[in-house]
Symmetry: C2
Subunit: 281 residues, 2 copies
């Protein structure tokens, strides 16, 4: 929906879900994520986990821009346990060194909705975007997919380790180290295949993906699911050929000239009914 | 609730509902307002009016800081008529010269909730706050109270002019002109008496208010209600004695040394059960 109002030239990074704002010779990166009970978090979620995830999801957007956190504004609808939310919020903000600058608290009469605006300062220019991949570039991911999926299933089964789902880690340090080296970068929040397609479309290239090169935090027989699952917040990025990333990362494909479809998965375009990941509104 | 996490020194303006952030020699002012259907807007509200009000409420926060708008981030839960919301949003953003920089759209399964983060740049330093009133200062308001109240009643009765309720005007130009002259300033969004009490408490003074000096956009027999009604978005400010504001404004009281209660209304403290205005969460 927002794209309809992105004609304004100032909204130049809107399709990246982050805004880039020049001010006083500095470059700010701003992002806003909103989460609704029943859509983005379970009705019985621990409010501290919700707070953590809200912060991590926003910081992950900053990480993909190589931005260091400067501060956050919270939009908070009162919920089942505000003190517990506050605990998780304080913990997450402290973890990422991001002070709470302000915000708004409201009462509501329906499912809880929370939002966070994160403000960061770019550490490398130009600020990486998802649109910079060029034919010949190599495609990388900073870590495995599937951890959040397995964590959610552990939580639902009340058995096993749900930490990766409840307390995802934004790749902040990795993003800052990578920002000067990448041609394109984004976080994988909606599923590797879907986000990969978005990067390909934004860049005007085809990305070829070798799914078996993708590191997995799930059993091998769940590989197809893990490639389409979100919430892992690893960084997906491209580099000029021959670049060796200075942080742990796996090469999972290459960018080629447009080949009819944005994404070639093990050599084939996805089936028409393949949603590839989690589609927002 | 937010005050619980305001111990962080960076949150120095949290009790003003605006954050002040120094960056690259510039001073940014940031604010976030959230509105929920059924709590902050009528379920059958025109989505374009909702968008307008969301923008105006945030711009009003910037106005109280003497900040010029730089941009906004929208948090938008899809609603009954997104195209109509977009119309009102575009109109309001254009009216205040504030580009949309980015944001998030989500699906929800309950009453609609929307949020806006407005970013402004301070035009006068120090940035006015609600805490600067000193004994001897004069207390002013830029315009009448009660217009939004009458507008809402007109809307509900389907008779008369509801514009002041549906399309409130933030006093942006007035705020910028006043910022270098005031000792304290805030917008009247929750009711003159309540916001006056907040200014008095933040400043550590008592404000004496002559209610009959307050300009009224309602019948005289509704004066008591109008003093307690929000959504008018006039600016309430204090100046050193003898200052003549360069914009239309009415002197409605003075600041005196603490006199036991923060607010003296026509010489008396308010009754214990007087809510004075619209209390958030």
């Amino acid at each position: 929906m927002l794209r309809g109002i992105a004609a304004d030239p100032a909204a130049r990074a809107l399709n990246d879900d982050c805004a880039v704002l020049e001010i006083g010779g500095k470059t700010l990166v701003l992002t806003h994520d909103m989460m609704a009970q029943g859509t983005h978090f379970l009705p019985d979620a621990d409010p501290a986990d919700l707070a953590w995830k809200l912060v991590a999801a926003n910081v992950s957007d900053l990480a993909a821009k190589g931005a260091r956190p400067v501060g956050a504004l919270l939009g908070y609808m009162l919920g089942p346990d505000d003190a517990r939310f506050l605990e998780g919020l304080t913990e997450a903000l402290s973890h990422y060194g991001m002070p709470l600058l302000g915000g708004d608290t409201i009462s509501g009469n329906g499912p809880q909705v929370v939002g966070l605006t994160a403000i960061g300062e770019a550490t490398a220019l130009p600020v990486p975007s998802r649109s910079g991949a060029r034919a010949g570039d190599e495609l990388w991911i900073t870590g495995p997919v599937g951890a959040a999926m397995m964590g959610l299933e552990a939580l639902q089964a009340d058995c096993g380790d749900s930490l990766a789902y409840r307390r995802p880690q934004a790749r902040l340090a990795e993003g800052i180290v990578l920002a000067p080296l990448v041609t394109a970068m984004m976080d994988v929040s909606d599923g590797l295949l879907l986000d990969g397609r978005r990067m390909a479309e934004a860049s005007g290239v085809t990305l070829t993906l070798d799914t078996h090169a993708v590191p997995l935090a799930a059993p091998e027989n769940r590989r197809d699911d893990a490639l389409r699952w979100g919430d892992d917040y690893e960084l997906l990025f491209t580099t000029p050929p021959g670049t060796k990333p200075p942080v742990p990362a796996c090469c999972i494909g290459v960018a080629i000239s447009p080949a009819g479809v944005p994404l070639l998965i093990d050599g084939s375009g996805p089936a028409p009914d393949d949603r590839l990941g989690f589609e927002h509104s």
